[in-house]
Symmetry: C2
Subunit: 171 residues, 2 copies
């Protein structure tokens, strides 16, 4: 469990599949920026996950930013497997701008990604995606700076989550 | 600035170089797990950074976990370039267990990494490192679960940082 030394980590949602065909959502802590220009992100997904097959198949995924209001649904999609769990959530999956994978209407932001590479150094595949479109709630990112009022979610372990103090720390 | 849609992100310190030769420390938000077993992490570093040359040269780096108590020093090493800035900080650089790069005594945890790959999809190099040794403060990670009392640091933008509420959220 030594990987917990980098925690708490932000928790995101990864949407995979294609609207009208098959869609899945998982919770993912292993999401990171890899380049600003072009805008590239990486996502770590275990080959055991249903999402893994869908990203491989469609070559696209969406990274969605949940808030603390969505923690129950984050937990459902993080702890159960396969698209059947989606019926238990209140996620609204809607058409994205540039990819076939849907975005989540309730999310604070949605990043639409096309896979440009995939790597594996052990037990997770690291999918590298170019962000081809994005959308977000202006109140969560006023002036493109995240607002501490937005309730950004982080993960401690299992079903334990956290959020940020509404206090900016300056050196 | 659309990359800010994944923020706030945790802020870490990346130590590079070799004790007794040349050492540098930078602040880095782009740090992520890539595999549990083997224990592999990735770090995004701009080729413009002094740290980039040192990691290339020595093939090793250390990821250190700062606390809110260290935010002034985090800001110094995040906003100034080159090893000269280290004299302005109160970091104590001490010998690591398995790599020539030193660890930071004041940090909540130190992950000693050997570079196993490096990738570039745009304006940052993504150094992939196998964690060959680590050390940590037991009080910050009791039972290897991060404690919200530890003052883990996150980054909003420029000189604006944040930390977590001392409240565990359960779905």
């Amino acid at each position: 469990m030594s990987y917990r030394l980098l925690y708490p980590l932000r928790t995101y949602l990864v949407v995979s599949g294609r609207l009208g065909e098959e869609v899945n959502v998982m919770a993912a802590d292993w999401v990171m920026l890899m380049s600003v220009e072009p805008f590239v992100v990486g996502v770590g997904v275990s080959p055991k996950r249903y999402t893994h097959g869908l990203i491989k198949r469609y070559g696209e995924f969406v990274v969605s930013v949940p808030s603390t209001d969505m923690v129950r649904d984050v937990w459902i999609v993080g702890s159960e497997s396969g698209p059947g769990k989606l019926a238990k959530t209140s996620f609204t999956l809607i058409r994205a701008q540039k990819v076939g994978t849907p975005i989540i209407r309730e999310a604070l932001a949605n990043l639409e990604c096309r896979v440009i590479d995939s790597l594996n150094y052990g037990d997770h595949t690291w999918f590298v995606g170019e962000v081809v479109a994005y959308s977000y709630r202006e109140e969560a990112f006023p002036g493109m700076v995240p607002s501490l009022e937005a309730g950004f979610l982080a993960h401690l372990t299992r079903n334990k989550f956290a959020t940020f103090e509404k206090r900016v720390i300056t050196p």
